[in-house]
């Protein structure tokens, strides 16, 4: 089967082309840009909501984008089990749309941060992380001002109980302490998945280090995991 990937473009998205480029570099497949005013995207196997500053992020990150026409379609497809990957602003939009629990708040030091971070893979038994090893430490960058993951105690407990925290900020030896979360995320959470296991949101940018030429390729395995899942046919 051929795998079809949509990258949603909101006004102010700025990692849309980057995802198309990395998806192609890793999988050899084309991805298509889809404007946020579209109402039907039923023909795609994977929906990527890219990073950027949708609608300027002026009110609250992702708060306006979730009202775009395309988001009710994303919610409908997510409900059917279609794979949805939200990166950075995409993660923020997914939490605003309540497709994922919690919220992303201002970084602990109140400053924008763009740099490589180390992440520990917490659960590789998912559509998005199967090509990583559990406990593997990977290096990919963050680039955000509002990436501190925050959720109520019940949501956090549920995430932990179901093994739905997929990535946590860590030290080089894989240990996790609050200092390792540059943005002050609760429990060092960098990425979480929904109960159904088909909607994944993360603050770091796997698409930015998916080619050795750019200084690292630890992001590749996320795209290869997704591709294998889709070719295996488990998503549809």
């Amino acid at each position: 089967m051929s795998v079809k990937c949509a990258v949603i473009v909101f006004p102010g998205s700025n990692c849309d082309q980057d995802n198309v480029r990395s998806w192609r570099a890793v999988t050899g497949l084309a991805a298509e840009l889809v404007w946020h005013k579209e109402r039907s995207i039923d023909n795609y196997d994977l929906i990527i909501i890219p990073g950027g500053f949708s609608f300027g992020d002026y009110l609250r990150t992702g708060a306006i984008a979730r009202f775009s026409p395309i988001m009710s379609e994303v919610a409908r497809l997510a409900g059917q089990g279609r794979l949805v990957l939200g990166i950075c602003n995409g993660f923020q939009i997914l939490t605003e749309a309540r497709l994922l629990p919690g919220a992303l708040i201002r970084n602990r030091n109140l400053k924008y941060l763009c740099r490589d971070v180390l992440l520990r893979v917490e659960n590789n038994n998912t559509a998005f992380t199967s090509d990583y090893r559990n406990g593997q430490v990977i290096r990919i960058p963050i680039s955000h001002g509002e990436g501190g993951y925050s959720a109520g105690p019940r949501d956090l407990q549920a995430l932990l109980d179901d093994d739905r925290v997929l990535l946590r900020y860590c030290a080089a030896d894989g240990s996790v302490s609050p200092d390792d979360a540059p943005n002050g995320s609760m429990l060092n959470i960098a990425g979480i998945i929904n109960k159904k296991g088909n909607v994944f949101g993360l603050m770091p940018h796997p698409e930015r280090l998916a080619e050795e030429e750019l200084g690292g390729a630890d992001g590749r395995a996320m795209f290869t995991s997704i591709l294998k899942t889709l070719i295996g046919g488990s998503a549809r």
């Binding site: 700025n14 480029r21 924008y112 763009c114 740099r115 030429e213």
Partner: protein, 735 residues
């Protein structure tokens, strides 16, 4: 003061200029017309104090597709591709309102780049501030860095390089110079020309409001502590609007719907429309009733001089207007026809059929009076040059001094700054900030683009000619150590009040030096910006002709980075170390004084060094290369050790003092490391370029940082130096 005098003074014009205007017009100009002259003949728009000397710059070269005079310069990089780039200042707005001042500086230069039809791929920022221990300076620095990040990050344009220095001369008047680089097809360059009578003049993007009124005149005056009330002169940026404007503009250009276009920057609608008509030798009219306003009741001159951001002026054929409106509508943006191109050469402003102003466009753009002002060598110049810099030699504690230098505001790690900039978006950043130059890959090609900005203001203050030449050589070397051939430069000439003969002398000498070095290094000047009146309460900044350099590497994977890669690699110093401690960072740190002779510069040797680096990269002879600059050899070596935590054990001898060897700032020197089996080939290449060199020792795998020179030893630990270096700026900037 007569009422006439009050009137022309209000517009920043002199009596002589006013008389000239009356004579040219053959009548007394009305208020609106006079306000047009006021901004168009300001230094900021008209370059009246600088033009005579900007002519000295070499502006031609086989690869120059567009030289000065357009929105940006353009150079050919082969494969049908070209690069548009330019640098501009936003100093005064940033002094008054740092966040918005810096943000709109970035926004303005980005518009200049996409106005050429290029997609912006990178930004750089060159910053100067006063004493970092001052609470106001901390606030300015924090605001400026946040403003640059706030705008560039939202636009999705990576901020990849720049430079940052502190000196008390910038206390009340910081420098914020923003540069943008864009990529375009070499056969699809757009220009800011209003050609074709009956073509429609369209205003697109944001609505026009009262912000930034008279910003151009404001930029052409000195600052004082009474400038808080100038905050309304500072524009407010909306990067989201600009992102939409950029995408919509690039879309209509791709569809070939536009004849000419220009961004609205200083002096807003006035300068953009007058310049477009002036360049084309045409006329045009604007109907103020058609200009979309943010609020009702704007006066005629307010509409014409508003510097509301995120607006562009287009000239389009009538048949294309509808298609343009459709594309802008998709992006939820306004595209309003506000006038037409005419053949009469007149720049006219109307409301309906009523003509409010009518001035020949050429009067505004080409007839600006040019001043070659009085020059006088400042009294400090000869005196400070002759001071013998002995402080470093007397200090003796070389390892202690190295640690102090590495943790000083001017030499410590800049990660606190560039961590706040998205420097990776776009997936092109191959060499990130923190090295000598950033390197970007070019989509669809194996080539890479290197870029850097540089200027040592202390050198320029002490010797404007030599200092400006060094700024060019240094910027060129920065791109060459990455393995890229320096191709062309842009500049931003920041000086004090040109009406002061001593300041004008600095300006003239610096432009001489810039012209000489740009010619010798074959890096033509493709554009730039002049910023005079950088003074605060009567004290001028150190003269700062900032250079922005672009270089090209043919095969991306050949590129070099500055850090040591492996233990047992040889460490070689290329270039000659002289007894040069004058004007050095070390001398300044110990004495607080800027004095002594500026290091000498041999431009021919500098050019050969650049050639060596490019060829050595191509032949893959080197493992690393790092420019040896501020702070001297010891600082450069430490910077090579930091990224991988490797050490050095070096032992060598020579004729100059240990102080000058460790901390002197002799020019055109590079620290390289290489595998021992590459030494022979590297040495023959060095010999063919007639470059002196010295094998200093080896990289080592542990924490040692040992330099034995003659009988002196500098002994330190890499981890300790690195901690001092990386912790300094976050600590110093904390409010």
């Amino acid at each position: 003061m007569t009422s006439t005098e009050a009137l022309f003074r209000e517009h920043g014009l002199t009596e002589h200029e006013y008389d000239l205007i009356v004579e040219m017009m053959g009548r007394t100009p009305n208020y609106l017309e006079l306000s047009l002259f006021g901004v168009m003949w300001s230094e900021h728009c008209g370059y009246k104090n600088s033009k005579a000397h900007l002519k000295k710059f070499p502006t031609k070269g086989p690869h120059v597709l567009q030289g000065p005079g357009e929105n940006a310069g353009v150079i050919d990089i082969g494969d049908g591709l070209a690069v548009a780039f330019k640098m501009e200042s936003h100093n005064h707005p940033s002094a008054i309102e740092p966040y918005q001042g810096a943000a709109t500086g970035v926004g303005g230069i980005i518009r200049d780049i996409f106005a050429m039809g290029a997609r912006p791929i990178a930004s750089l920022d060159s910053l100067r501030f006063g004493d970092i221990n001052d609470a106001r300076v901390k606030r300015l620095l924090n605001g400026v860095v946040e403003g640059i990040g706030g705008y560039g990050n939202c636009m999705g344009i990576p901020t990849v390089a720049g430079d940052l220095y502190f000196h008390p001369s910038f206390q009340g008047n910081p420098l914020v110079n923003a540069m943008c680089v864009g990529l375009l097809r070499s056969d699809a360059i757009y220009r800011g020309q209003a050609t074709g009578a009956e073509n429609i003049v369209m205003l697109v993007g944001a609505r026009t409001g009262r912000d930034g009124l008279k910003g151009a005149s404001f930029a052409s005056e000195e600052l004082s502590d009474k400038d808080h009330d100038k905050r309304p002169n500072v524009q407010v940026g909306d990067p989201f609007m600009e992102k939409l404007l950029m995408e919509a503009t690039l879309e209509i250009l791709k569809e070939g719907l536009v004849v000419g276009l220009q961004d609205l920057g200083a002096a807003g609608l006035t300068s953009s429309s007058a310049e477009m008509a002036g360049r084309a030798g045409s006329g045009l009219y604007i109907d103020l009733d058609r200009v979309p306003l943010r609020e009702e009741g704007l006066l005629d001159w307010e509409i014409m001089l508003s510097e509301s951001q995120e607006r562009m002026l287009l000239v389009v054929q009538p048949s294309k207007a509808q298609a343009i409106e459709k594309i802008f509508d998709k992006w939820d943006l306004l595209a309003e026809p506000i006038g037409k191109v005419t053949e009469d050469g007149l720049f006219a402003i109307k409301r309906g059929d009523k003509v409010l102003a009518a001035v020949p466009a050429k009067f505004l753009t080409d007839q600006v009076p040019i001043y070659n002002r009085e020059q006088k060598e400042p009294s400090y110049h000869q005196r400070l040059k002759q001071v013998e810099p002995t402080a470093v030699k007397q200090y003796k504690d070389y390892s202690g001094l190295l640690k102090r230098l590495l943790s000083s505001p001017n030499l410590c790690s800049r990660h606190w700054v560039y961590d706040q900039y998205d420097h990776m978006v776009g997936l092109n950043t191959v060499v990130r900030p923190g090295g000598d130059a950033a390197l970007l890959r070019i989509p669809g090609s194996r080539k890479g683009l290197a870029m850097s900005s540089d200027c040592n203001s202390r050198y320029v203050y002490l010797d404007p000619h030599l200092g400006a030449a060094i700024a060019v050589a240094e910027a060129a070397l920065n791109v060459a150590v990455v393995g890229a051939k320096p191709l062309a430069l842009t500049n931003c000439l920041n000086f004090g009040n040109p009406e002061n003969p001593e300041i004008y002398w600095q300006f003239v000498k610096a432009t001489d030096g810039l012209a000489q070095a740009a010619s010798a290094l074959e890096t033509p000047v493709t554009g730039g910006n002049v910023s005079f009146y950088n003074e605060y309460d009567g004290r001028a900044i150190y003269p700062t002709p900032t250079i922005g350099m672009i270089g090209l590497i043919e095969e991306l994977s050949d590129h070099l980075t500055c850090h040591f890669k492996e233990p047992d690699h040889l460490v070689v110093l290329v270039g000659e170390t002289k007894e040069e401690l004058g004007a050095s960072e070390a001398h300044h740190l110990l004495t607080g004084r800027d004095e002594g002779p500026v290091p000498t510069l041999d431009l021919a040797a500098a050019k050969r060094l650049n050639e060596f680096l490019v060829q050595a990269a191509q032949k893959r002879l080197l493992a690393s290369a790092h420019d040896c600059a501020d702070g001297g050899l010891s600082v450069a070596l430490a910077e090579c050790c930091f990224p991988l935590g490797l050490g050095v054990e070096l032992e060598f001898s020579g004729d100059v003092s240990a102080a000058a060897t460790f901390f002197g700032e002799s020019q055109s020197r590079v620290v390289v490391s290489l595998a021992p089996d590459r030494l022979n080939d590297a040495v023959s290449l060095l010999a063919s370029k007639d470059l002196p060199y010295a094998v200093l020792g080896r990289v080592c795998g542990d924490d040692k940082f040992i330099i034995k020179y003659n009988s002196e030893t500098l002994n330190a630990s890499v981890s300790e130096l690195r901690l001092a270096w990386s912790a300094a700026l976050p600590k110093a900037t904390a409010i």
